[in-house]
């Protein structure tokens, strides 16, 4: 009986955990994408102060999310995002528009990719 209960609990944890992860990844990637928008908007207006401030906020939020993401994704994926965020910050500091826009695009792509890896899709299964 104890064994059956243990297995039932394990099954619930597995399914519940998977559902939670799915919802969490969706919400947090949307949040990161939303945080990137002010950076992109400021860059398009060449408003470097706002771009840098927004990039710093993005980096701080990413550092928080990374702790949970570390348990869910391969760290190599996360390192790419961290590197893009840091480079975005640096390009905003030195006011390099091409570099900043490029890193912003990279960051957006990697975040979207994280969401895609987690979703149930043919490409992810096969």
């Amino acid at each position: 009986m104890a064994k059956k209960i243990t297995i039932a609990v394990l099954a619930l944890l597995l399914v519940g955990g998977a559902l939670w992860q799915n919802i969490y990844i969706n919400d947090s990637t949307e949040k990161m994408q939303a945080l990137l928008e002010p950076v992109a908007a400021a860059l398009s207006e060449k408003n470097w102060n706002d771009a840098l401030a927004s990039a710093k906020i993005l980096n701080l939020e990413w550092d928080k999310e990374k702790r949970i993401y570390g348990a869910l994704f391969d760290h190599e994926e996360l390192d790419l995002i961290s590197a893009a965020a840091l480079r975005l910050n640096s390009f905003c500091e030195i006011r390099n528009l091409e570099g900043a826009l490029s890193e912003a695009a990279s960051f957006a792509y990697y975040i979207k990719h994280l969401k895609e890896i987690d979703s149930i899709r043919w490409e992810n299964i096969f």
Binding site: T6, I7, A11, L14, G17, L72, D74, H75
Partner: protein
């Protein structure tokens, strides 16, 4: 480095816990679906162990899923004989009344060399001694010798040996096992009386002691002295 050590320890204990939940059959002879799970589990459990960048969940979650699959398949096998046949296969009689079933061997891709090897492993050197041989679904060969060659048992001789029942450990490594004494239906006092008669003053001086259901005790102390006695009238 510490991360790898910690992950290895955690995954080891989790995998061991899962193997325990899978039951005793895992440690012994495996059905095909169990063999697959055992092999896969070994592979997936080690994935995060030696890769610092791979989260521990990449090892734990697949192992947990394999456990659930094992339980699901075991349950289905239990409830449906038809599906059991599909999942585990069916035993095959490869020797029937002393005759080797060549067609059956061919259908199993089981050659005569394999059959002879398995027979030798069962201490059967001469294939003509075999009355029936069944190839089980886990790959084991069950052998029944011809009646004139099987070992004699008391019934053949018309003898009724005493029924001593099962043998229980009552002392292991100097520690008394009260539950086993209870199963036997003898009091601890009767065991202590026996120890006293054998000039053993303490339970912890006894390396091991076993008793059958009739109260016949075999015990050995740490010096290697083995004594037999009875607690039946204790």
């Amino acid at each position: 480095m510490f991360n790898v050590i910690i992950k290895t320890v955690l995954i080891y204990f989790f995998t061991m816990f899962v193997m325990r939940l899978m039951g005793k059959r895992q440690a012994g002879e495996l059905q095909p679906f169990e063999l697959v799970i055992a092999v896969m589990m070994a592979e997936v459990a080690t994935t995060p162990m030696d890769s610092p960048g791979v989260p521990i969940t990449y090892g734990i979650i697949p192992v947990a899923v394999l456990l659930l699959m094992h339980n699901a398949i075991s349950y289905i096998s239990l409830k449906s004989e038809k599906l059991r046949g599909v999942i585990s296969g069916r035993p095959s009689i490869v020797i029937h009344k002393g005759i080797i079933k060549n067609e059956e061997l061919k259908s199993l891709s089981y050659n005569l060399g394999d059959l002879l090897e398995q027979l030798r492993a069962k201490d059967v050197i001469n294939i003509s001694d075999v009355h029936y041989a069944v190839l089980e679904t886990n790959g084991e060969l069950s052998v029944m010798l011809k009646p004139e060659l099987r070992p004699l048992n008391p019934k053949d001789l018309g003898i009724s040996p005493p029924n001593t029942g099962f043998s229980y450990d009552v002392i292991i490594d100097g520690k008394l096992k009260p539950k086993n004494m209870e199963m036997l239906g003898f009091s601890e006092q009767s065991l202590f009386s026996l120890l006293k008669r054998c000039n053993i003053s303490r339970v912890r001086d006894v390396f091991f002691a076993t008793s059958d259901e009739t109260g016949n005790v075999t015990l050995q102390d740490y010096k290697g002295n083995q004594i037999t006695g009875s607690i039946a009238n204790g």
